[in-house]
């Protein structure tokens, strides 16, 4: 009898727990990061001198974009004796994200004293130095990143070329070389790099190459109307109205040849107005 009661009680408890969990799941379903933070806080309460726990909670706060709390945990972890190099990186990162670049530099330098070849750390160092306007040093660090990086992205190349120009605003030669390097790495038709190449060629007044670059886009694209117009604008800018007119005509013809459903999109209607305005200016 007693056993039966015991079993019945257990079943009741089990049902209650199940019911609670069923109710709780939707509530906690999304905020797993908050749950992890709460769990870590609980663990810290039990082991208040465990520097690992503070570091781990700091990482969670950082993911949660709570940089001050993350920093407090990192500092606490350090004060409890955490000498791990990863902590230095994380502190540098949080100071960087909090725009305290001097402190960020201090910690990333500490990190690099122990692990001087870490690409991720070198990149962070370059970004910190850039924000401190130490462009020469930033460039040196980023050059290392570019040379060592395995999976380069277009954004990396763009950032690198940007630092080159920050260091010397006239150094389009090196900036373009960086873009060409990126194109070789990522594929010759990588759009954002080809666009940046056009921008740099224009900024450095390399007229012949600019026109070649416009022609590259015109030949490369299935739909050419936008590029004809952009080329016409550039031709107008460099005082070549006749050539600009030809480009505008080609733009108009390209629109004419478009499938009807594209002719009436807002972007094409806007482009037609721009073409007309430029035609008026030219003639």
């Amino acid at each position: 009898m007693c056993n039966k009661k015991y079993i019945a009680n257990n079943i009741k408890n089990l049902l209650l727990i199940t019911a609670f969990l069923l109710l709780a799941i939707p509530v906690f379903a999304h905020g797993d990061l908050s749950i992890q933070i709460a769990e870590k806080t609980k663990a810290i309460t039990k082991s208040p001198n465990n520097f690992e726990l503070y570091y781990e909670r700091g990482l969670l706060y950082q993911q949660h974009v709570e940089y001050n709390k993350a920093l407090n945990d990192y500092i606490k972890s350090e004060s409890l004796g955490n000498t791990n190099n990863d902590l230095k990186y994380s502190m540098a990162e949080v100071y960087y994200l909090s725009e305290d670049y001097n402190k960020a530099l201090k910690f990333i330098s500490n990190y690099l004293e122990i692990d001087s070849i870490n690409v991720k750390a070198k990149k962070l160092e370059a970004q910190i130095l850039f924000n401190l306007k130490a462009y020469k040093k930033s460039l040196k660090a980023y050059r290392y990143v570019i040379n060592q990086m395995v999976d380069t992205r277009p954004e990396d190349i763009l950032e690198y070329s940007n630092i080159i120009l920050a260091e010397n605003p006239n150094n389009y030669h090196d900036a373009l070389e960086a873009i060409d390097y990126g194109l070789k790495q990522l594929g010759l038709n990588t759009l954002s790099l080809q666009l940046k190449k056009l921008e740099y060629l224009e900024a450095s007044n390399q007229v012949k190459k600019v026109l070649e670059q416009y022609n590259y886009f015109i030949l490369q694209y299935k739909r050419k109307e936008f590029w004809y117009y952009k080329k016409a604008k550039y031709l107008q800018k460099i005082n070549k109205p006749k050539d600009a007119n030809i480009a505008l005509q080609l733009a108009a013809i390209s629109i004419e040849q478009l499938d009807a459903k594209f002719k009436n999109t807002n972007s094409i209607i806007r482009l037609q107005t721009q073409i007309k305005n430029l035609e008026t200016t030219l003639n």
Binding site: D32, E155, G187, N189, S192, L195, K261
Partner: protein
């Protein structure tokens, strides 16, 4: 009684194992017994096009990679072999025929490691770009819980597609909206919540995905490394159509007459003028496809477990990307992140907060489009949302992030026709409307096998490509005799022809003439501007040779 139960369980297991795809293990018959090579993951299909597909799988031991394939199940006459010894296998099959079913198996140089004796391991290559035919895509948002909710949602779709009266069993692609494996998109989490769950579909349907925030915890878009980037292989150089992005974080592909644009709303910079924005703008402005669909994780409209009025990524995607995508004819926007199903009216130009939405506002670009844009979009009720060659505005926005769990929320976004705290996934079907156009229909299939919502966007006049019906390119001044490759110039009676100039497609002067009948046999094919100069005036005409 216990014996009976055991017997039933044994029978069920036997039946279950027979129903599964057969997996052959190579077991050496000689002694000592060599370690057995086993397939631990896959095979699964990536970056499929009309002529190529990537087959990936994982083995427990490093070995060579072999894919045997052919159009007949019993005769896989072709094979692709890589002698590199690896556990992570990736084989590209190329030179395939469009719209063709290829059965395949995988193995190493010693033999087959995994095959389907019932023919459930195959790839159907994509149609040629621009082809108008039936297309079905299975759309899964925030699926990766690996629990019974996810399985129930999966099974409901499997049931739907198996019992669909038309195109039974056909799933052209799987579109994952991110958060494919909770909690951090780690490799073992992907195994549990992705490969173990969708194994049967992944070996016969190409999977595409965008990055979710949970995938992003272990994946690093900056380095394109981590499980998400290791598991998926997406086109970075425009291999599947579209403009090369140079990154797997955002890319595009064509399937039939649909252009898909996949964006990274999590890690990548979302600013106007940023690399992703510039790429997306140029990509959408280069497509000639009939339908344009975009997918990214963070929803532009939601009041589910996330709020598009308060969260930065959601606001940035709406304010920065949507005006550009809408101006270029986007038709359908697919998002996840909120664990609910929220489906909009037929919208254009609503880029503000929920409380600024006005469904009756149809002027100056929006917020809804067409006479029934504020309706339910159902053919059998308020009617399909309509796009024509003249009326090109309008898109439906779907937040569908409940393929693995639901998380509630206010679910009262004003731009939404329907908001449900309901498990489920979506299916998109593009089909002929019988009148020369096409219907794009999306259905939300709940885990209970119910179609809880559906709508259709109809586009007219898609039966033929525009170029097919273009008249001969003659004008009052220029006529082209293609058989003679001669261009005839006619000027007004009171004018005298002085000169004719030909400019090619990059605006370069390539030919001059003073004749009225000009041979153009030496000019290459393409577009030309013909400048006709008379004693009175200068005219411009165009000609396509």
């Amino acid at each position: 009684m216990i014996k009976k139960t055991t017997l039933i369980i044994m029978l069920l297991f036997t039946a279950y194992s027979f129903s599964q795809t057969a997996t052959t293990s190579l077991v050496s018959s000689t002694k000592p017994v060599k370690p057995t090579v086993l397939v631990e993951r896959g095979p699964y299909l990536q970056s499929g096009t009309a002529t190529r597909v990537i087959v990936k799988w994982r083995t427990n031991l490093a070995t060579e990679s072999v894919v045997n394939y052919g159009t007949e199940l019993g005769a896989l006459a072709m094979n692709k072999t890589s002698s590199n010894v690896t556990k992570e296998h990736e084989v590209t099959l190329s030179g395939l025929k469009a719209n063709t079913k290829y059965y395949f198996n995988i193995g190493n140089k010693k033999g087959v490691l995994s095959e389907s004796v019932t023919g459930d391991m195959y790839v159907i290559t994509a149609p040629n770009i621009g082809t108008k035919q039936f297309v079905r895509a299975w759309i899964l948002g925030d699926a990766g819980t690996g629990n019974n909710n996810q399985r129930a949602v999966r099974d409901a779709y499997y049931n739907y597609v198996a019992t669909s009266p038309e195109n039974t069993g056909k799933t052209d692609m799987m579109l994952f909206l991110g958060d494919n494996a909770y909690g951090s998109g780690k490799d073992d989490e992907y195994q549990k919540a992705f490969f173990d769950i969708y194994d049967n579909m992944l070996k016969k349907s190409v999977a595409w995905s965008c990055l979710g925030n949970h995938d992003g915890k272990s994946a690093d878009s900056e380095k394109q490394s981590g499980p998400y980037y290791d598991i998926f292989t997406f086109p970075t150089k425009g291999q599947a159509g579209g403009i090369p992005s140079g990154t797997e974080a955002y890319y595009s592909f064509d399937y039939a007459n649909i252009h898909f644009i996949i964006l990274d709303s999590h890690h990548t910079n979302r600013e106007i003028g940023g690399a992703m924005y510039n790429w997306a703008e140029n990509d959408i402005q280069n497509t000639t496809q009939d339908w344009i669909v975009t997918l990214f994780h963070h929803p532009v409209y939601t009041k589910g477990s996330h709020d598009s009025d308060t969260e930065d990524r959601l606001i940035e995607m709406r304010e920065n990307f949507m005006p550009m995508l809408e101006a270029n004819g986007i038709d359908l926007v697919l998002n996840g992140h909120s664990h609910s199903y929220e489906r909009s009216y037929f919208l254009n130009g609503h880029h503000g907060f929920s409380n600024t939405f006005n469904g009756d506002e149809m002027t100056k670009g929006g917020h809804t489009v067409g006479t029934n844009g504020h309706g339910n979009g159902k053919i059998d009720s308020d009617g399909a949302y309509q796009k024509t060659n003249e009326a090109t505005e309008g898109a439906v926005y779907i937040t569908t992030g409940s393929a693995g769990k639901i998380s509630g929320g206010d679910l009262n976004h004003q731009a939404m026709f329907l908001s449900l705290n309901q498990l489920g996934s979506c299916v998109m079907e593009v089909a002929d409307d019988g009148k020369g156009g096409q219907n794009l229909t999306v259905k939300f299939i709940s885990e209970n096998n119910e179609i809880e919502d559906y709508f259709t966007i109809n586009k007219t006049g898609l039966a033929f490509n525009a170029d097919d019906n273009k008249p001969e390119q003659n004008s009052s001044m220029v006529s082209y005799e293609s058989h003679l490759k001669t261009l005839n110039i006619t000027v007004n009676p009171n004018e005298r022809l002085k000169k004719v100039k030909f400019y090619n497609s990059i605006g370069k002067l390539v030919k001059k003439s003073r004749k009225e009948s000009i041979s153009v046999s030496k000019l290459s094919k393409g577009l030309y501007v013909v400048e006709i100069i008379t004693n009175i005036n200068t005219y411009s005409e165009s000609i396509k040779l």
